[in-house]
């Protein structure tokens, strides 16, 4: 009764071929099958943003995309972007400003922040707030996150 599909995808630069249950969400595949537990599951209905990953250059909710839909795609997670150094500047600013507390939302938040940095590197403070509004943080009250992203975009201290 389980439908499985032969799927080929590239995760953090490594190409994998797996039989994947058709119903399995991308974030569950990353966590359960690949052990990439940095992408977190906060709501499983596409609201909180904790499972945000990058697929072919677009940030997506890992809980709203099926793993088999990533067939032929490049998938990038917090682990991959940490190792490549792509997030280093943002991570440094988040660290120095304590733009995280429990850290559960942080991988998704960094993915969204990096997306803004690529698409709108001159974003204003209001635009930063708007862009990150799809990522819930229950600990910080957001201000330190906004400050950190603003610092990275504008070199403000």
């Amino acid at each position: 009764m389980e439908h499985e599909l032969e799927t080929t995808l590239t995760v953090n630069g490594t190409t994998l071929r797996r039989r994947i249950q058709a119903r399995q969400h991308l974030v569950d595949f990353l966590r359960e099958e690949l052990g990439l537990t940095g992408s977190h599951i906060g709501c499983e209905h596409g609201v909180c943003g904790a499972c945000t990953v990058r697929v072919d250059g677009q940030i997506v909710r890992g809980c709203l995309m099926l793993a088999v839909q990533a067939n032929g795609c490049q998938v990038e997670t917090i682990e991959g972007l940490s190792d490549s150094g792509e997030l280093a500047t943002l991570q440094k600013a988040f660290h120095e400003r304590n733009a995280l507390q429990c850290g559960f939302c942080t991988p998704g938040m960094l993915m969204a922040a990096r997306d803004l940095q690529i698409r709108n590197p001159k974003a204003s403070r209001d635009e930063i707030r708007a862009h990150l509004a799809g990522n819930y943080c229950r600990c910080t009250g957001y201000q330190a996150i906004i400050d950190a992203v603003e610092e990275v975009l504008h070199g403000k201290s």
Partner: protein, 795 residues
């Protein structure tokens, strides 16, 4: 790292200069930033089984029949169990405390037997090889229900026409009355009496990480290791031990990274107890992680109060008395082991808290209903007490046409009046209301802001300014729980060990939930011992290795755990200098320990690197005098005892704009000035306040668990239950007054709940200030656009 002026006040604390008072970034944030933390759901175990609960769809119903046949045949299923089966392994509990006189609650089982008392209460559990297989099988359970009348409204619960637990006689869990005497006389003499009723919505914590537990029973040892997203590992060790009948020493509770807690993860949850019992029953590791939908119907809720308050005042603006009547509903069970009587109790303790009136009367009822249970969530009772106090104070000020800031100034307890006993019986060691008020008014440029507000109103923009003064319970003594019989530690311990290379390992019983506990313990340890902070490693959250202690709740981590670290650090430093004196054949008094070096106290000239001292002490003790034994691991404990609680104080202000056409509230800015005593890490303190303020704003504007008349939760998902998002939140300006507590050497008081305590009241007063020119007023939280438009008589 520069060295700031030392905020430590204790005599002879020169050695503690350094990192205290510095905004040192958290070392343990690095792994979280790379997604390399270890939250409970990230752990991988061989033979791990997954538990999924079958929950009642009704608010109140008898379970006539449960049929597991189909479910048991589903792929991957290991077992399906009802309440009776699990009860063989886990005894029920009753959540009462002796010092809450008369509190009552029925026994609660790990899985409900025969009857479900709220929508979401588990009545069966499936264990399977994977979570998805367990979910599939749970959908195959057949249940036959007999619906019972649901008590949903708290006034009806109090009236008691339908009694939820007939054995208890009525629906009243707990009631308290308090009267200083002279209240009626004060109201009779008053020039002005104001009265209002406030409603506080039921809301919940929404930790981004759902509740999570992985229980691993070892049948050979009859031992249980529990990986648990919890705030109180030792409390849970005791509870698993007693209810699963495993010797305390055989139970180890490990809290690795925890994804937000806010009080949600400090309680005993039936489904978590069932998970531990299943591990014992099945002799293998079992995991349960609450998904978001079941979090809404099973994580504790909080608040839901209806409070009528009256205030008596003279024409000159002197408050004479408060008269309070609070009603609160807690669901069908008092929550174990802290009880659900505490929030109402706090409302009685704290109402009117900042002010110097002498007459006070309070009546409070805590009632059972057929909704999800409520219990202690961040700032327990404070948001209610602060908002109703500050709301009615604003009413009195308006009646007398006195500016709200000036009215508060006239009534706040003077800064030189301490120690002070408040009419509710609580004692304040030393507060700084007038300093914080003055600082706030300066910080927000109150006069200019009032002028700006007047200009905007002339232009038809309805802006409002709201103030909320507050007091806050922190550093609780055993008076909070221990005296009532709860096995919850009010003391905490810290062990410090010098490693051979000169590094220092800190083990402390307070836990880290992201608030920065590990970081500040590192700062305190480095400062007290005399090492650089990169040499310190901190371990928390493991009953197998840390000293015994209470964990994290009631803003106690820094004040209690921090003091234990300080005391242990000083003792370790002294022991290190004993060794140095023996090696160097010098008098100990001539030596000091600074920046990883033993130095000459007077010349500051280096005498020996700490790494060399470690090498000798551990590997060449044969070179030390025959009668000398080095002690490079020390443990110290601390319990606050002089006062029941170390109260703090503060004041917040909110600046908003209300759109009278849409009812939307725009938050323009928010300020908070508070006094948490010694500030150990200013950045972390400010971030605690900001995060807390935003949770308080959530309560004021967005968050409410809405129930239908049949007791069904109507908005139990993140799309329909609104939490604050970055787009709507204002910038929050923080400042501090430092009045260190004299009870400890460190002088730190708590700060984790201050933001949540004061923000709802400040926002409410700001909205009502904005609505005042339109003749409207709101008193029911959250202040949704609909409620504001109703107040404006537009819908």
């Amino acid at each position: 790292m520069g060295k700031a002026e030392l905020p430590l006040h204790a005599p002879g604390t020169q050695v503690d200069r350094g990192y205290i008072g510095q905004s040192v970034p958290r070392a343990n944030a690095q792994r979280l930033l790379q997604g390399r933390g270890a939250f409970t759901d990230d752990l991988r175990f061989p033979r791990l089984a997954h538990a999924v609960f079958f929950r009642s769809p009704y608010a109140h119903a008898n379970v006539k029949r449960l049929e597991f046949k189909q479910a048991l045949r589903a792929p991957g299923v290991i077992g399906v169990f009802d309440g009776r089966a699990v009860a063989e392994y886990c005894t029920p509990w009753v959540a009462v405390l002796a010092h809450l006189k008369g509190i009552k609650s029925p026994p609660q089982h790990a899985i409900a037997i025969e009857r479900a008392c709220w929508q979401g209460e588990a009545v069966a559990v499936v264990v399977a090889e994977s979570r998805s297989e367990a979910e599939d099988a749970a959908a195959l359970i057949e249940a036959e229900w007999e619906e019972l009348p649901a008590v949903v409204d708290m006034e009806e619960a109090l009236a008691g026409k339908t009694v939820i637990h007939p054995d208890l006689g009525d629906n009243v869990c707990f009631k308290r009355e308090h009267d200083t005497g002279g209240v009626d006389e004060a109201f009779a003499q008053a020039d002005v009496v104001v009265e209002e009723t406030y409603h506080f919505g039921r809301h919940t914590g929404v930790c981004l990480e759902g509740r999570a537990i992985l229980a691993d029973y070892n049948a050979a040892e009859h031992s249980l290791t529990v990986y648990h997203a919890t705030q109180a590992p030792h409390m849970m060790q005791d509870i698993f031990s007693r209810h699963l009948n495993i010797p305390e020493g055989n139970v180890r509770v490990i809290a690795k990274d925890v994804g937000g807690s806010f009080g949600i993860k400090v309680h005993v949850y039936a489904d978590e107890m069932a998970t531990a019992a299943l591990s014992v029953m099945l002799r293998r590791p079992v995991k349960f992680v609450a998904d978001r939908l079941e979090s809404f119907v099973s994580d504790i809720h909080a608040r839901e109060h209806r409070v009528k308050v009256r205030l008596a005042c003279t024409r000159a603006g002197e408050i004479l008395a408060f008269d309070l009547d609070d009603l609160t509903a807690i669901g069908p069970y008092s929550v174990y082991p802290r009880t659900s009587g505490i929030e109402g109790n706090q409302v009685v303790n704290l109402t009117g808290g900042p002010y110097k009136h002498q007459k006070y009367r309070a009546r409070m009822n805590v009632v059972f209903t057929n909704k999800n249970v409520t219990c202690q969530y961040r700032a327990v009772g404070h948001p209610i007490a602060v908002a109703l106090t500050e709301g009615i104070v604003d009413r009195a000020a308006a009646e007398l046409k006195i500016d709200p800031a000036e009215f508060r100034r006239r009534n706040l307890i003077p800064d030189d009046a301490y120690p002070y006993t408040f009419p509710s019986g609580i004692k304040f060691e030393k507060l700084s209301h007038h300093q914080t008020l003055a600082k706030l008014l300066d910080l927000m440029d109150y006069k200019s802001l009032r002028a700006q507000q007047a200009d905007f109103i002339k232009k038809g923009s309805y802006r409002g300014i709201g103030l909320a003064a507050m007091i806050e319970v922190t550093n609780p003594s055993p008076a909070f729980y221990g005296v009532g019989g709860a096995r919850i530690s009010a003391q905490d311990g810290a062990t410090l060990r010098l490693e051979p290379t000169g590094m220092v390992t800190v083990l402390c019983s307070v836990t880290e939930q992201g608030q920065g506990t590990d970081a500040i313990f590192g700062q305190i340890a480095a400062s007290a011992v005399g090492v650089t902070i990169d040499k310190v490693r901190v371990i928390t959250g493991d009953t197998g290795v840390t000293p015994y202690g209470g964990g994290t709740w009631a803003s106690r981590g820094a004040g209690i755990g921090g003091e234990a670290v300080l005391l242990a650090g000083r003792a370790l430093r002294s022991n290190i200098l004993d060794i140095a004196a023996a090696v160097l054949k010098m008098d100990k008094a001539e030596l000091d320990l600074v920046g990883d070096q033993v130095v000459h106290r007077l010349t500051a000239g280096p005498k020996m690197p700490l790494a060399e001292l470690g090498r000798i002490a551990y590997f060449r003790p044969d070179t030390l005098p025959l009668d000398f034994q080095s002690e490079l691991t020390v443990t110290r404990h601390y319990t606050p005892r002089q006062y029941g609680f170390t109260f703090t104080n503060g004041i917040q202000a909110s600046y908003v704009e209300v759109d009278p056409d849409t009812g939307f509230v725009k938050l323009l800015k928010h300020w908070c000035v508070e006094d948490c005593g010694t500030v150990i890490n200013p950045m972390l303190v400010d971030e605690q306040i900001r995060g807390g303020v935003v949770q308080g704003i959530g309560a004021a504007l967005y968050e409410e668990c809405l129930y239908g008349p049949d007791g069904q939760l109507l908005n139990g998902n993140l799309a329909d239950y609104l939490v604050p998002m970055s787009g709507e939140m204002p910038d929050i300006v923080c400042a501090h007054v430092e009045t260190p507590t004299q009870q400890s050497q460190l002088g730190a008081k708590g700060v984790g709940e201050a933001g949540t305590a004061g923000a709802p009241g400040a926002v409410m007063n700001a909205i009502n200030d904005a609505l005042a020119p339109l003749g409207a007023r709101v008193t029911q939280m959250p202040f949704t656009p609909e409620r504001i438009l109703k107040a404006l008589r537009k819908v």
